[in-house]
């Protein structure tokens, strides 16, 4: 069942980094942003426009300098770090541009690893769920393969399965196709979107890849979202 309210709300969110001589470099200034539940939003923007910073803030990986971020009615910016970690493990899936698979672990273990950090999937069901997810993503025959034994397209599909492992309501994807060739990118993106739609996940993709821009329900430009960034530096 899709909740009535927005999946993500950002209010007056600013992020700046300290520079020398006490100055601040403001990289993000978002007055207001809402993502509808079960929607697929694509944010485009050039390199260095603050896309990854925005995702890290929504994921609770880093905290904003000011403002509030609400994910499914939870103000994650006020959560203590351990609770934020738990919230991220159970409520947010993250797909990285360079996959970030752990090389010592098999495809199956990489997916199961995500379940270890949350309580969303009971331990006895974790292997079965990871196997099923990888099967849905066409990797049923690659369960025991280490990342180095997989193609780049397969690696990204493992990363997508890992993001879906805890069945999180929100999935963040940072340039998910940037490391793939055009054909593989289209294939992976199609599978990714199909699975997210089936599962009812809210999907936020940041990318400057042409192949991704038309894939969502909504296309936003980072330059508009982040119009005031840099002004206060």
């Amino acid at each position: 069942m899709i909740p009535a309210g927005p999946a993500v709300t950002l209010r007056g969110v600013r992020k700046s980094f300290p520079l020398a001589e006490g100055r601040q470099l403001q990289v993000l200034d978002v007055e207001h942003l809402e993502l509808a539940a079960a929607s697929c939003t694509v944010i485009q923007g050039r390199s260095g426009s603050g896309k990854t910073t925005l995702l890290n803030l929504i994921a609770g990986v880093s905290l904003p300098t000011a403002g509030a971020i609400v994910v499914r009615e939870t103000v994650i910016t006020t959560l203590p770090e351990p609770q934020r970690d738990r919230f991220r493990a159970e409520q947010i899936g993250y797909v990285f541009q360079t996959f970030n698979l752990l090389p010592a672990f098999s495809a199956l273990e990489n997916v199961m690893l995500a379940m270890l950090f949350g309580r969303a999937v009971p331990r006895r069901q974790q292997r079965a769920r990871a196997t099923a997810l990888l099967g849905r993503l066409g990797l049923g025959a690659r369960l025991a393969h280490k990342p180095a034994q997989l193609s780049r397209g397969e690696q990204q599909r493992v990363a997508i399965a890992r993001a879906l492992a805890n069945n999180p309501p929100l999935i963040l994807a940072d340039e998910p196709c940037a490391s793939l060739d055009a054909a593989t990118a289209r294939e992976v993106l199609a599978v990714f979107l199909a699975v997210c739609r089936e599962e009812g996940n809210t999907l936020l993709i940041v990318s400057h890849d042409e192949a991704v821009l038309g894939a969502g329900d909504r296309l936003l430009d980072m330059a508009e979202i982040n119009a005031r960034a840099g002004a206060g530096a």
Binding site: R88, A89, T98, N100, A104
Partner: protein
Amino acid sequence: MTLFTVAWRYLQGRFVTSVLTIVGVGLGVSLIIATFLLTRGIREGFIEGATDYGLIVGAKGSPTQLVLNVIFRMDAPMPNIPFRAYEDLQHDPRVEVAVPVAMGDAYQGFRYVATTDAYFAPFSGRRRAPALSAGRFFRSDVPEQPTYEAVLGADVARRTGLKLEDRFFEGEEMAAYPLTVVGVLRATGTADDRAIFISLASYWEMNELSRRAMVKPLTAVLIRPKRLSDLAALHRGWNVAPDIQAAFPTAVLLNIFNLLSLVEDVLLVVLGAVVIVVGLYLFVTMYNATFERRREIATMRALGARRSTILGIVLLESCALATLGGLAGILGGHGGAYLGAALLAARGGPPTHALAVNALQPVTFGAVIVLGALAGLLPAVLAYRTEVAENLAPL
């Protein structure tokens, strides 16, 4: 999947480094275990093999050499004393038991110990008299009619393969005096296990010098006084003789233990350095592993792992390395101690009880795990403090 699985996968992921670290820790622990087992084994071997006799009378010289030679069958052989000394002691009213002992040649490295049946007899205050596991003791033959019967210590029987009724000799010149095995002693854990006991008559007949000169040489006489208070007078009385001395075995043992304590002190310093080296080796291994893994740590954090979870994984890895190294070290240490004890025995060293299992093993094992935790603590804190956003991108 559990945190331990994650730690284990990381160890497997850097297999060669992990194995080398385990071997390094294992070698350090082996050295510690083997050293403790051997030093304590030597000490216990001396205690176990210590005689129940209060005094040893032998040729003038070093009391330590006399005791080591007669009781522990170590050190260079002592000169002989005349049989008259034994006769005088036998008739001394202060003496309860006097046992003559003559030591000479050896068979396959096992020394002949010539004595009388008194050597095997129990007496008041004797902890354990030698007992037979097979056969009988040699006959108390008369000097003119030696029977050339031999009773083997347990190690001798095991190592030489000699059985009851077997005849043996070593060297062409001894072919005319073959000995016959009539008995085998039970293992005692003392130097008696490595001795071949024969009668004095057989020994004197086998000894060319005594045969020609018609003398009855002895190496020593073991004395048990009727009263402990007589020991001092006996000791003093025999030490004024020009060619004969009397030695207290307990005093010599105390000297040996003092010497052992000095050696143990030096070894403790060396082992302390070993512990530091092992700890540093573990630390460097874990530090490098954690440093190279910052991106993976950041990824796990982005997937929802808490800082404490990451800390736990690194500590588990470090402790797992220490645990495996500790286990390998305890096994290797026992192997080393066994080999060391065998080497000592082969070279006529002291009897060594090197394979005793007691508090040493669990305490060392626990200490190694604690060392592993300590060595992994700083790398674990480094992992704990890894900034997620900064390390998510390729390094």
